[in-house]
């Protein structure tokens, strides 16, 4: 089972005063936590038992686990407060991380600079060692200007036209969704503007002026140049990955690509590489090419069908025109 954290499950069991067992596994180890009325009463992990076993299991990184709600009475071997144990585990993990980072800095020699623990945590599995700082070392690029959202006054309280809920939300009909809290009635939703065609973007705000017409022109140039080779296109915010304008808009991709661009910029900076140029490209399955061009506070993403347009034409003729238009709207 994945997608859920052991610590949250433990805290819910505690708060809801449940009696159950958790079987956990990680890196070839296995263990079991026993709860009675929400209290952690016993634990076992390989050759450990009681509190030591509990700390061992709580320290495992992303363990797989299964909760069994059958009541299996146990003798109480743990008296420690569960919240305190979780806090203590978090403290130990922080210390361990900081220690690893310090060690990495020390091994690198006198010119090495250790990254602090918070920084390392934010980089996750990226490199945690920063090379010697020289005049040539690229600095982490400054954050791009944030484009504003516009407060859009609505006269009075007239609601937008709504249509009854569509099929979304009916996953239970496929037999694989659990009912949630709150009203059981299907919520009303606005008619979804799915499908092709440019979609409207938020307007201008205090943080800057968003030239929606200019962004639409960028997409138009891409559409004109690529014709039916253009599968989808979006111009999205670097601040939060929200799509401002799109053709066959892919909002989820925008959010994810935004993260990739951010990580890429960090990785290049940390790795001592020059910063990203005007765009990056990926070959996707099914003869698709992905092009992403960060530019100022926005990023352009294009998905192109490579069977319908020559790569040379895309890179040397169409893309320069599109990027020139984008840079006009959102200067680097």
């Amino acid at each position: 089972m994945k997608g859920i954290s052991l610590s949250s499950v433990i805290q819910v069991i505690n708060l809801e005063r449940q009696s159950c067992d958790i079987e956990a596994r990680a890196d070839g180890q296995s263990g079991r936590l026993h709860f009675r009325g929400g209290l952690l009463v016993d634990a076992m992990a390989d050759d450990l038992a009681g509190e030591d076993a509990a700390y061992e299991i709580l320290a495992w990184d992303h363990p797989e686990f299964q909760v069994n709600t059958e009541d299996s009475p146990r003798e109480r071997t743990i008296d420690a407060d569960l919240t305190q144990m979780l806090l203590e585990t978090a403290r130990r993990q922080d210390e361990e991380k900081a220690g690893i980072v310090r060690e990495a800095g020390g091994d690198a020699g006198a010119s090495g600079t250790a990254v602090d623990a918070a920084d390392a945590a934010s980089l996750d599995d990226l490199a945690v060692f920063e090379g010697p700082e020289t005049a040539e070392s690229p600095a982490v690029p400054p954050a791009p200007p944030v484009l504003g959202l516009a407060p859009e006054p609505v006269s009075g309280s007239a609601p937008a036209a709504k249509e009854p809920a569509d099929a979304r939300g009916s996953a239970s009909t496929a037999g694989a969704a659990f009912a949630g809290p709150g009203p059981a009635t299907a919520p009303a939703v606005k008619a979804a503007p799915a499908g092709a065609g440019p979609t409207a973007a938020p307007g201008a705000g205090r943080g800057g002026t968003l030239n929606v017409a200019g962004l639409k022109r960028v997409l138009q140039i891409a559409q004109d140049g690529l014709d039916d080779a253009l599968v989808s296109a979006d111009v999205f915010s670097t601040a939060d990955g929200t799509s401002y304008v799109g053709f066959n808009s892919q909002p989820a991709s925008c959010a994810l690509l935004n993260q990739i661009s951010e990580r890429m910029a960090l990785s290049f900076a940390r790795g001592g590489l020059p910063p990203l140029g005007r765009y990056y490209m990926a070959e996707l399955a099914d003869s698709r090419i992905l092009l992403v061009a960060p530019c100022g506070g926005v990023q352009l993403s294009l998905v192109v069908d490579s069977t319908r347009a020559q790569l040379g034409l895309i890179l040397n003729v169409i893309l320069p025109d599109v990027l020139a238009a984008l840079e006009e709207v959102s200067p680097r």
């Binding site: 708060l15 659990f178 939060d240 959010a255």
Partner: protein, 286 residues
């Protein structure tokens, strides 16, 4: 002073990101995020093989054949307020037939999502900037409450009075009886007593903003008695929101976020307050 209020994100990570961004974009002096904060559905992602999964969306089962595609689908689920859990078919069957287990997993996912949001808020809002408050709604399980009490950038404001630039924000997530048997429902008489105790701490109603749950007799009586400058109400999913006047109190309801739309939309209210008066207000959409 300009206060931005949004409500009813219903678990949508995209709407939460929009909320964080809107604070800066609107130049708000303070922001308040009201419930319901949590979504209503867990989608079981069934693992069929080393790199294959099945995900039920819109009543259809979609086959997923790469980790990248799965990441995209699960990100989309989160953006629309749904939770997801990856299970083997056996684990799914085991869970489905055990209401206690469903309850534990659902609440754990809700906590995980909120922890993720609060971490994001700490990163995005930084140390300076306007104060940002958060309170659950009457449909939010109480297992999330302790998450707001850890000194993060988003400060809790439920069941208390907080001061912002000379104004007092009074917030309660409790509601009167509803047809939905919500997590924080109370008997109307008990609710009135609770709100009366809470609002008794207000020093000047001209400088008070009441964030109370959608209409109940108790809330109406409290508003009538205290006549605060503003009362905000949250609306149920898809609710239209609006503005009205009760005595000298302006009552404002932001529309709840339309998290189930193709592009989830965040609605809010931007209030301009000056010298104990509402100079202006705007309904916002992002």
């Amino acid at each position: 002073m300009m206060i931005f209020v949004a409500s009813g994100l219903e678990g949508s990570t995209l709407c939460f990101r929009k909320f964080l961004k809107a604070i800066d974009s609107y130049g708000a002096d303070a922001a308040v995020l009201l419930g319901d904060l949590t979504g209503r559905k867990v989608v079981s992602v069934t693992k069929k093989g080393p790199s294959s999964w099945e995900v039920p969306i819109d009543g259809k089962v979609h086959a997923i054949d790469s980790s990248a595609a799965l990441a995209e689908v699960t990100a989309s689920l989160a953006d629309h307020g749904d939770y997801w859990i990856e299970q083997t078919p056996e684990e799914f069957e085991h869970t489905r037939n055990n209401p206690t287990l469903v309850d534990i997993y659902f609440k754990s996912l809700v906590r995980d999502r909120l922890e993720e949001w609060l971490t994001l808020a700490d990163e995005r809002l930084g140390n300076g900037g306007p104060p940002v408050f958060v309170a659950p709604g009457c449909g939010d399980w109480e297992v999330i409450d302790d998450l707001f009490e850890h000194g993060g950038r988003m400060a809790p404001c439920d069941d208390r009075i907080v001061e912002v630039d000379g104004y007092q924000l009074v917030t309660s997530s409790s509601s009167g009886p509803t047809e939905w048997d919500l997590a924080r429902e109370m008997d109307d008489r008990d609710l009135h007593k609770k709100l009366l105790d809470l609002c008794s701490g207000v020093s000047d109603p001209d400088y008070a903003i009441f964030n109370l749950q959608a209409d109940s007799r108790a809330a109406q009586r409290i508003v009538k008695r205290f006549q605060p400058l503003v009362r905000t109400m949250n609306t149920t999913q898809g609710g239209s929101g609006g503005a009205s006047k009760r005595g000298r109190t302006i009552e404002l309801s932001p529309r709840s976020a339309l998290v189930e739309d193709a592009a989830p939309t965040l609605f809010g209210i931007l209030m301009m307050l000056e010298n104990g008066e509402v100079k202006d207000y705007h309904f916002t959409e992002a």
